[in-house]
Subunit: 619 residues, 2 copies
Amino acid sequence: MTQKKKLQQISANIRRWILNCTNRAGSGHPTSSMSAVELMVALFFDGHFRYDIDHPRHYNNDRLIFSKGHASPLFYALWCAADAVDEDDLMTYRRFDSVFEGHPTSRFRYTEAATGSLGQGLSIGVGMAMSGKYVDEIPFRTYVLIGDSELAEGSQWEAMQIASEYQLDNLVGILDVNRLGQRGPTMQGHNLNVYQKRIEAFGWNTVIVPEGHNLSEISEAYQQAKRCKDRPTMIIAHTIKGKGVSFLEDKNGWHGKALDDEQLKQALKEIEEVPTDLRGELKPPQEVNFPVLERSQPEELKYEIGEKIATRTAYGNAVARLGDKFSNMVILDGEVSNSTRAEFFQEQFPERYFEMYIAEQNMVGAALGMALREKMPFVSTFAAFFSRAFDQIRMSPYSGANVKFVGSHAGVEIGQDGPSQMGLEDIAMFRSVLGSTVLYPSDAVSTERCVEQMANRCGIAYLRTTRGKLPVLYGRDERFPIGGSKVLRRSNDDQVTLIAAGVTLHEALSAADELGRSGVSVRVIDLYSVKPLDVETLKAAARETSLLVTIEDHFAAGGIGETVCGALSDTSITIRSLCVSMRPRSGTTEQLLDQQGISAGKIVEAVKESITSMTHSWQ
Amino acid sequence: MTQKKKLQQISANIRRWILNCTNRAGSGHPTSSMSAVELMVALFFDGHFRYDIDHPRHYNNDRLIFSKGHASPLFYALWCAADAVDEDDLMTYRRFDSVFEGHPTSRFRYTEAATGSLGQGLSIGVGMAMSGKYVDEIPFRTYVLIGDSELAEGSQWEAMQIASEYQLDNLVGILDVNRLGQRGPTMQGHNLNVYQKRIEAFGWNTVIVPEGHNLSEISEAYQQAKRCKDRPTMIIAHTIKGKGVSFLEDKNGWHGKALDDEQLKQALKEIEEVPTDLRGELKPPQEVNFPVLERSQPEELKYEIGEKIATRTAYGNAVARLGDKFSNMVILDGEVSNSTRAEFFQEQFPERYFEMYIAEQNMVGAALGMALREKMPFVSTFAAFFSRAFDQIRMSPYSGANVKFVGSHAGVEIGQDGPSQMGLEDIAMFRSVLGSTVLYPSDAVSTERCVEQMANRCGIAYLRTTRGKLPVLYGRDERFPIGGSKVLRRSNDDQVTLIAAGVTLHEALSAADELGRSGVSVRVIDLYSVKPLDVETLKAAARETSLLVTIEDHFAAGGIGETVCGALSDTSITIRSLCVSMRPRSGTTEQLLDQQGISAGKIVEAVKESITSMTHSWQ
């Protein structure tokens, strides 16, 4: 059998599998899968894609990401054709007990990155390509299958601009222009030249494939892509949605619809019957010497108690210090490294610092891509601007990501810049991420220790830092385990417990001292680990004191107050939560904390008021 | 005085004001403001911009949005030069008691839209232009000042593609290419041709202004923009950051820095001294006949109790029904109208439906723009995909927006598509938005009534809808006030209260019935108003029953459980919260609800377990 015939037959098998598995599941996106069959078959089985199916973690495997994640039937069918999975298993598609989920996740062995929320795949590919080209300097190539509809997502254009800026000639996008979106035609339809013009304007090489189901044309495009130096390549293919079955081809109204049994029967008649045990072979990856990680001991901390340092500055010091210990640590920042202090790392390790400009969605996606290539990215911007990338952040856990997020300029504390720059929802946002850790240290020592903890523990973590200078509270030998807390004021006669973090921890200490002078004994807990919480210490306070007051420079929803209330919901303790509740504005830190009722003076007032009303109600 | 001289002198005054007000505040972005002085002076005072400063709400005023919101000193100075504000007031810049905030908000009378989080202004302008061209058909023009750094934001490219798709020739972007970002040069520097190529590829007309401080060149560009039909225009100007003061011009390191007193003195020496009472005049707007709003009575609801209808379908029915009553209602959807059911409105009122394609950031920004032009936008997509636009959503309140968000496909309930499509953080996200309303109705009748409530109340609101069909619970005469709840099962002997919404409300009812059969009397509360909460009913339940159990198809962080715990934190009631806590996956609705412990059977188990352990602890 000629190579061409073999590829055609593999394509036929794949179409059968797509139609069958979605019919079995009663749902799925067969027509979206069918438009890209030849694009993927040529890639995999005509000698372009290099991969060892027995070693998915091989450093130099090529990478394939389905940015159009709903074409998962094709994705899984491809690996079946490569003999990496069984046909029977493929037929468990979308079942509860199956790893073949509706959109690919890390539960499936060959998923590079979880997708399904459109427009995210190219950024992840950018990160992988950057990692390969600049960090590890190994030649694997990254391929991203992209739908035409999802090119409307701005995140894709962020990725494109960064890919050309970084000259990622090891990155190939494959644009499946099948003309039809979910509810009708895309804006450009089959006008490939519009896509070409835009993508070339963004600095990419492009290869048009006028017949997107012609295997040799497609193969030639992959060859051209390989030859192109210094620029990434977008293969732009004119395809037909539902290709292979006449009553589906280029027809609106079939998006996201599986065929029923009768329709399936009709459809299968139109597809060549081929030996179902036919499989293709993937070319193995080139062997490389993977760089050996050098490690060294980090320097010790040098802070003195009482010294005033911003926690964002301590963060910068920490990563500059730890960059030697963790040689796979990389930093990505969004045009604000002189504010977040990521610049300190850039000064020490310029080859591992990546400027990602004002494009947070792509920055997060690229960080994920790097993490999936075994780097440890710390990603920084203002806490408020991570909201720009919430979709990408929310999707990260489904890839099994090891990404550390660092948001500076938390709260109204930032002062005069005003609300657009204030992080007031970031704790809630990062708490909602599956399996995340959320840390909010209040001084330089605890910040540096938290950064160490984050680096030592795999998974998604978020560190919240403050703009202004705050006094160092802790000695260098203090430890700050994730899930712990610090009790800074404590006696056996405590009536009230103040629970705070970051800037409000300092306000709480002042308040406690003032209340102490008026005869009210106050416990103070530094809740630097917001997630997971130190429930034990909180419950002890609930048992031993009569009132808990949480104070945070953050909105109420999903913040420290709500997480504490939730954790203590099986106790009878009274909890009062102070937080940002009025519309914030420009002003000085002191004026703004006071306006929001979270300054030392306002904490004292609130405690006295609560004690008074509690006393009355006991009487 | 010639017109040219007058404009030059106004520019000099404006530079003085920029330097002075930032010096007084001790912070701000003078150099970013100075690069765009002539661009704005020509617009305002050379007869292009038409505006009545005594009537900022005039329907046909032209609109000016500072997408580069940090150039607020310029923005305010411009209005001062137009005699709309006093110079003395301008000098209160960034003070706590001042409306001249660090980035423009709706507290300042002439702010069209709050900005400061970069890359959002063009979308808002798109919405305003769409409103003017297609809804009201009045000829005002919308101008958006854009920074070059912020063009890295994908949201700007989303806006550009939609603007050309919708042929918005009443929209003009002014790109201030001053080469320098916050921490260094932008990717393109002063290569205007790269911007031109990209922007033209996106379908815009472009006008290059090689001398971005040459008032007549700039004026000519505005004329060209006005003459261009069927396409929006981007004026691309080569400018100098810090223009006007030699030691600032084109110098890195000055971003976001105000001048100190000595530097100010030096700087002012370089700026022409002109009569400080010199003011410019804005050309008044053309008078138009504003369309009269026709209103009619909506049809009555037709649902029968027990009938199975998805709440997303009821949403579609509601807006199709209410479109006559609210003739300023518009709908924007992100390529999923056949899923969200926004298509029902499209069928009835095609001229008020706007397809926004797979570009949620721009969709939200455009909705804001329309709302600011007195339309009432309902914006829909999957609940999960609103996370793509969290930054735009978070910023909306600072413009005083009247926008209604509708997120479908909430929770694991959606089944086989899997986690990428599941809204599991949306309640938290929308609760965190300042002043928002969050509604989560459980049946068709309450959904339609909630939509009516949202339409009747000004402000930001979010409605969460479910994919699958659920039985109608309520009669047509039931009312669903915002801040209310419904008690569906109640007796004087209730031991336990179940609090739920949406799909879990139905599970709770089944659980209550089963528990009732085992002798446990259960109250059931439909918490359709998640924010604001019906605290009174919750407190009554806390007094009258021994255990509250919240059940939600949503993650724990910031969800229904946490909001209820927070609201009852001054009571001693025990609250147990069931929610999505394990990593979700593909499967049937029943399997997934059960896996997460939020199905009827699991609720029964949890209640029995809690009762047992509470009984033991009482012993």
